[in-house]
């Protein structure tokens, strides 16, 4: 690993006494100054790499943002610290590290408004809460309307949101251009911009930092984050209740298991014999070469399938759509991002000569009504938080918060009570299919 000082590499590879002591330190000006004196070579590990114990009160499967947030709030708000978060790969290496980092809460239905706005409230103070800079930037998310239908739908959203106290406002095309100067509002476009819905406190946050911040916070409370530990089975007792999980590192006993496995939820739930209403699709994204700050907000267009923001590093972060077929390949067809790029070039002509750097895919678990499932399952002791589809990142703090409540109390928090698995039987769907993002 060129460029990494040897001493620091040692700390990462072999968690010594030094690393263990330092992981408790808080980030502040004094620590920064102190570490500057040793050329920043002595920052310790931020979380341990513990061996799994034989038994935990709660085992969470999946160390992405949602799983780690769940562990954090379990420990902090409910005093449940004997918790393990098991991760097949590495922490935050799935959809948490692959999304386009957009945070917003202007959903249509009351249930969703409650859930996503709860997350939005937590985003406001998350960096202070975690003592970790998640780089939440309320630069505004603007959703473009290109057809009469779009205009009617977005105005309906705006009215519904304002009734519920969720920030959202309608802009004319000219006002949209004023908010985002690179936007092309020419009448000659194939799909001209007729207006936009703007949520000003929406924006972006650094996805990796969210996972790392929650991991560090949870670890501080004694939560064991166990990476490279694949769950291979869920053991159930004679009464049907869960007894623990079989893993690649041995059997781990637990009376409560929370499955937060995103695209692989069906695979994990199959181990407990629970059928899920999920389909896993590839969702692609791409970034451009970094350029100077030139793009002030997040712009989404559902109709012509594009959404884009500029990262603090300067890259344009572009979200493409889902591929049409079920796949766990974490990649997809090139025609999908190509289609998105065409739309971006039309909307923002100044980016026509921009070069793209990287293109990748994640595996997203999509429910029939495009709303998540957070709650109990037919198996006693088994809980699930899944179905976030193409838009789970924005909900990370709220999702973890209400799922921790559900795991601790055995009953859902009022906010996630409507998001049951049972709603597919009762028919009380939360149909955000028309409301959510580009791929829906």
């Amino acid at each position: 690993m060129p460029g990494v000082p040897k001493r620091r590499l040692d700390l990462w590879l072999r968690p010594g006494k030094k690393g263990r002591q330092r992981q408790m330190s808080r980030f502040n000006f004094w620590e920064l100054a102190k570490n500057a004196l040793s050329a920043h070579e002595n920052w310790g590990r931020q979380w341990r790499a513990p061996e799994p114990k034989g038994e935990y009160d709660v085992v969470i499967i999946g160390a992405g943002g949602h799983g780690l947030a769940t562990a954090y709030y379990l420990a902090k708000e409910h005093g449940v610290t004997n918790v393990a978060v098991l991760e097949k790969g590495w922490l935050g290496g799935g959809n948490t590290g692959r999304n386009t980092t957009i945070v917003r809460s202007n959903y249509l239905w009351e249930e969703s408004e409650g859930l996503y706005d709860h997350a939005m409230d937590l985003w406001q103070n998350l960096s202070q809460e975690l003592n970790y800079n998640v780089m939440y930037s309320a630069r505004g998310v603007m959703m473009l309307a290109h057809t009469i239908h779009d205009v009617q739908v977005f105005k309906r959203h705006v009215y519904a949101n304002r009734l519920a106290g969720v920030q959202n406002e309608w802009l004319t095309a000219e006002e949209a251009k004023e908010y985002c100067p690179p936007l092309n509002i020419s009448k000659n476009m194939r799909y001209p911009v007729l207006g936009a819905a703007l949520q000003r406190k929406a924006g972006v946050a650094r996805h990796d930092a969210v996972a790392w911040g929650y991991a560090r916070g949870a670890d501080k409370y004694g939560v064991d984050i166990i990476q490279n530990c694949a769950v291979t089975g869920i053991r159930r007792g004679a009464d049907g209740a869960v007894e623990g999980v079989e893993t690649s590192r041995g059997f781990i006993r637990a009376k409560k298991i929370g499955v937060v496995a995103a695209g692989h939820t069906t695979t994990v739930m199959d181990m407990a014999g629970v059928r899920m209403p999920l389909e896993s699709y590839p969702l692609q994204a791409l970034v451009s070469e970094p350029v100077k700050p030139c793009f002030p907000c997040v712009v989404m267009s559902n109709t012509i399938h594009a959404y884009m923001s500029q990262s603090d590093k300067g890259e344009l972060v572009i979200g493409a759509g889902t591929d049409q077929y079920i796949s766990y390949s974490q990649t997809g067809g090139l025609q999908i991002p190509a289609h998105t790029i065409e739309a971006i070039c039309e909307l923002f002509p100044m980016f026509r000569r921009m070069r793209m750097l990287r293109n990748w895919g994640g595996t997203v678990d999509v429910t029939p009504d495009r709303s998540p499932i957070i709650g109990k399952t037919p198996v006693p002791g088994l809980f699930v938080n899944c179905g976030w589809g193409t838009g789970g990142f924005k909900a990370t703090p709220g999702s973890g918060h209400v799922f921790a409540h559900t795991l601790a109390k055995g009953e859902p928090h009022p906010i996630n009570a409507p998001f049951t698995l049972d709603r597919y039987r009762t028919g009380r769907l939360i149909d955000e299919a028309a409301a959510a993002a580009v791929a829906h």
Binding site: T266, Y328, Y424, R425
Partner: protein
């Protein structure tokens, strides 16, 4: 982009000519009025979503326009076989054995 063989046209075509149509072999209930809510939920919403070989429907929208079934590996996205509507679902275990040889 996937290359897909249409069993009716007998040719391999790019994916953009086709439309994915979900999991195959989900039979519509013979007597819908006798179904319980659980059975309706199972029919309408529950899906196998397998990681590995999957039986799925495709429609050759911009070709012959007909639906057909395919077996595809959802990890590698490789098609194992395609077959016409009405033909029996191949034995997936047998296909795995053949693929290994």
């Amino acid at each position: 982009m996937l290359l897909i063989s249409c069993p009716y046209c007998g040719v391999e075509r790019p994916e953009i000519e086709f439309r994915h149509a979900g999991e195959a072999h989900i039979a519509r209930p013979a007597e819908p009025s006798k179904l319980t809510d659980e059975e309706w939920a199972e029919y309408l919403y529950m899906r196998t979503n397998p990681k590995g070989l999957m039986a799925e429907r495709w429609r050759h929208t911009h070709g012959c326009g007909r639906f057909f079934n395919a077996i595809r590996d959802t990890v590698s996205d490789k098609f194992v076989t395609v077959y016409k509507m009405g033909e029996a679902k191949p034995d997936l275990d047998q296909l795995l054995v053949e693929a290994a040889q």
